[in-house]
């Protein structure tokens, strides 16, 4: 149990733990914010009450997740200072600014309009309300933008250089638009959207399968399928582009993702391993199943590689990522889920085209609904796996190629970090189960169809209680 007295390891574990837990909540709220914009838009356009009740129902789950997202997000920001003080000091010029941009551009926008979105149905008119919903979505997604910009910059630092151990920015635009930025932002944007869609779809499928409000939930289900048609394949494509970038900019990470120990020279076809048992001590895979020549097709869509794929042995052990097995399997998990979700989307679309998703038929689609329920948590697993690949694969660097993780950690007594780490582990685990419990409670209670509908005046009493008819018996001359 040496690691219990190693501040660096403990700080890394604490950051990983808090990040892995934190991510679960904003992932849903970011994607769902867009879904809420769509649903409220349909409500305003069609004035079909069902869409209004959809907006109200899903926003309950939204708020539950949002609150936990805020609560678990604030520690992320402060940990940079508490546990990673040397890193913070070195990169404050850029990284710190971006954290500030996130707070001012994204977080404040989201926080200010969330209140109106959730509690303001009766207090503002429908245009302002819709605008608030849109601004919450804009804020959430701007958050993704800034955070992914900051993280991408840690992966491919650009726009300046280290001077006396401090990163001095030469060109902010160049730093923001660092090589990884665009694909990373898009990959995460689609990841949150896809995860949320499959969660909403899975919950809708659950109601449909139980024959509870199945007509109502077939509406949300169809919105999800329609959106997934675009999102799922695009995500696969962007994922591929991201992989290609890793190949060019972070070859050591790519080697770990593929558990590739030996270099494959240019002009050769590389085998792609499907399952392997990487052994870091022996610097080889103890056992593997490979697909011949597949690596060339995956990386460059052709058999022979134009560039060599470097093996892990190219780097000194202290310069390459460790936990190769974790990176390798996390990567494969992410990809498998990506393909599964795209496949499920494809089958659902086919069934829809065959008329099987109509309110009369949808409840009979038992295996399809079952698959959607199964798919509901998969997006989360894919995202967590993706981040493990991204950040464990970045090791031993915090700022890739420039600042090592060893040199980034605060000098703290290990007991302090151990205490806070334990507290996080306990509290976050409890929170996790609480959210599952209260979330499933919201789902079990189902939508409320008795909420007042904004913009519909209550019927005036005169019309509902017609007065007695008194015939006018005055002489004709008096009736003017």
């Amino acid at each position: 149990m040496d690691f219990l007295s190693d501040t660096l390891v403990l700080s890394r574990m604490q950051f990983a733990l808090t990040a892995i837990f934190h991510m679960l909540w904003p992932v849903l709220t970011t994607g769902m914010s867009i879904y809420l914009v769509i649903v409220e838009g349909i409500w305003l356009k069609t004035r079909n009450k069902d869409y209004y009740y959809h907006a109200r129902f899903w926003s309950k789950l939204f708020v539950l997740n949002f609150g936990i997202g805020v609560a678990t997000g604030i520690p992320m920001e402060f940990q940079f200072g508490t546990n990673w003080a040397p890193f913070s000091e070195a990169v404050g010029n850029f990284f710190g600014s971006v954290i500030g941009f996130e707070a001012s551009w994204a977080f404040m926008l989201e926080a200010a309009f969330l209140g109106i979105m959730v509690f303001g149905w009766e207090r503002v008119n429908s245009v302002i309300h819709y605008l608030s919903t849109i601004l919450v979505a804009v804020g959430s997604n701007l958050s993704t933008f800034w955070i992914l910009t900051a993280n991408s910059w840690m992966q491919t630092p650009a726009g300046g250089e280290l001077v006396d151990g401090k990163f001095v920015v030469r060109d902010y635009f160049e730093a923001i638009t660092n090589p990884f930025m665009l694909n990373s932002v898009l990959h995460m944007f689609f990841a949150t959207l896809e995860t949320s869609l499959f969660v909403i779809g899975g919950i809708s499928a659950c109601y449909i399968l139980k024959n509870r409000h199945h007509e109502f939930f077939s509406k949300s289900f169809k919105i999800v399928v329609a959106a997934a048609i675009a999102v799922a394949p695009l995500q696969l494509y962007i994922g591929h582009l991201s992989g290609e970038q890793v190949y060019h900019y972070q070859p050591a990470k790519l080697a770990a993702m593929e558990a590739q120990w030996e270099t494959i020279p240019a002009g050769q076809g590389g085998d792609w391993s499907l399952v392997a048992f990487p052994n870091e001590k022996a610097q080889k895979n103890d056992w593997e199943i490979t697909v011949p020549n597949a690596l060339g097709y995956i990386l460059e869509f052709k058999k022979e590689l134009t560039l060599p794929v470097k093996g892990l042995k190219e780097w000194q052990p202290e310069d390459r990522p460790h936990l190769v097995g974790l990176i390798y399997y996390a990567f494969r998990t992410m990809i498998a889920i990506g393909f599964f979700l795209a496949g499920l989307m494809l089958i659902s679309t086919l069934q829809w085209m065959r008329g099987k998703l109509s309110p009369e038929n949808i409840s009979q689609q038992r295996w399809l609904m079952g698959s959607w329920i199964f798919a509901a948590p998969l997006g989360y697993i894919a995202i967590e796996s993706g981040w493990i690949v991204r950040c464990v694969g970045r090791q031993p660097w915090t700022l890739y190629g420039q600042i090592r993780t060893v040199d980034s950690a605060s000098n703290l007594p290990a007991s302090n970090v151990l205490t806070s780490l334990t507290a996080f582990a306990v509290v976050y685990s409890i929170l996790f189960f609480c959210v599952l419990y209260f979330g499933s409670r919201i789902i079990r209670r189902g939508p409320r169809f008795d909420l007042p509908i904004p913009g519909l005046e209550p019927q005036p009493a005169l019309e509902t209680q017609p007065g007695e008819f008194i015939p006018d018996e005055r002489p004709v001359e008096a009736k003017q």
Binding site: I74, P75, F78, R123, F438
Partner: protein, 336 residues
């Protein structure tokens, strides 16, 4: 370039001071209401207290996130050193925030509310306590080496002076929380908080007097600054004005005014804050590191002033707007 490297850190220090002040004022009443919720005599009352915050707590807390981000980007050295030194108070505050935030979500859903009541009240208290210790420790001074890196011990933040500051800050939060509730509620609940406001204004006053006396006696650095002419007149004026404001506050509580107690309390906060800023400036880690030493590269400060500073009016506008949307007294215990 010389003037720029003086001017820019000062502007950015001013912006951060504004963020910190807005945070202390807004989340101050927020946390104060949370602490007061422990004393609420019924679940209905507690419902009202929480409803009075449910749409704003998140936006209020965001000012702290903004302050954190701004300090990180604007004065990286100070951000790293201060947070490193205050490891324990910071995590006490963070866990307080976590308990409190989840209480908002879970209490609403839950049938057994006791646990979440505790999470809300206790979380608010912990958050305020952590902040109080942090403030007290920063004022007392953080031990650093020649490069400005923290070299002190784990428990440096704990001293009788920081306990005094923490207790006073909690009293101040209870005071502003009480006056906020006077403004937002009616009837018996309002009556209760006229009482808590009065009590808190007296305890806050005692704390403030002690701090005012203690500071020049125990801190040589502060003494030199305080008794240097012409500052001495300004510094003499602040406690006097403070006493006047407390008197006005107590008067307005006696007259059962609804909004003025909140206004007087805010003015008291402004005054205290000005006093602290004057004692601290131009240091960002008092009497160790100046804002010029800790400041980020001028180019970073410029871009942050453009990207964040320019947004301040917009952020203020939409915060204000949501206060307008939810103006008026809290009547029921729920929004649905």
């Amino acid at each position: 370039m010389e003037t720029l490297s003086y001017f820019l850190p000062q502007v950015w220090f001013g912006i951060l001071a504004l963020f910190l002040f807005l945070y202390v004022m807004l989340d101050g009443f927020d946390l104060g209401v949370g602490i007061l919720s422990v004393t609420a005599s019924s679940e209905d009352r507690r419902d009202i207290l929480m409803t009075s915050l449910s749409n704003i707590w998140d936006a209020n807390e965001t000012w702290l996130v903004l302050m954190g981000g701004g300090l990180f980007g604007g004065f990286p050295l100070a951000y790293a050193t201060i947070l490193n030194a205050l490891y324990i108070p910071i995590f006490v505050m963070l866990f307080g925030f976590i308990f409190r935030a989840v209480a908002f979500e879970f209490r609403e859903q839950s049938t057994r509310k006791v646990l979440w009541n505790l999470a809300f009240g206790g979380g608010s208290f912990l958050a305020a306590l952590g902040q109080g210790f942090a403030l007290g420790a920063v004022l007392k001074g953080i031990e650093v080496d020649a490069k400005g890196h923290f070299i002190g011990g784990t428990w440096d933040w704990l001293s009788w002076q920081s306990i005094l500051v923490a207790l006073t800050l909690i009293q101040g939060y209870v005071l502003i929380g009480s006056t906020y509730l006077i403004w937002k509620t009616t009837g018996e609940l309002q009556e209760t908080h006229y009482k808590t406001a009065k009590l808190a204004s007296i305890t806050t006053l005692i704390g403030a007097i002690l701090i005012t006396i203690v500071t020049p006696i125990f801190y040589e650095q502060a003494r030199m600054r305080l008794f240097d002419r012409p500052q001495v007149y300004v510094f003499a004026l602040i406690p006097l004005l403070g006493v006047v404001l407390i008197w006005l506050l107590l008067k307005s509580l006696d007259r059962k005014q609804e909004r003025m107690p909140f206004v007087w309390t805010i003015l008291l906060f402004v005054l205290t804050f000005l006093g602290l800023a004057l004692v601290v400036f131009p240091y960002i880690i008092p009497s160790q590191i100046t804002i010029y030493e800790a400041a980020a590269d001028p180019s970073s400060l410029v871009i942050m002033i453009v990207m964040i500073g320019a947004l301040i009016p917009v952020m203020l506008f939409y915060n204000l707007y949501q206060y307008v949307v939810f103006r008026g007294k809290i009547t029921g215990g729920h929004y649905e």
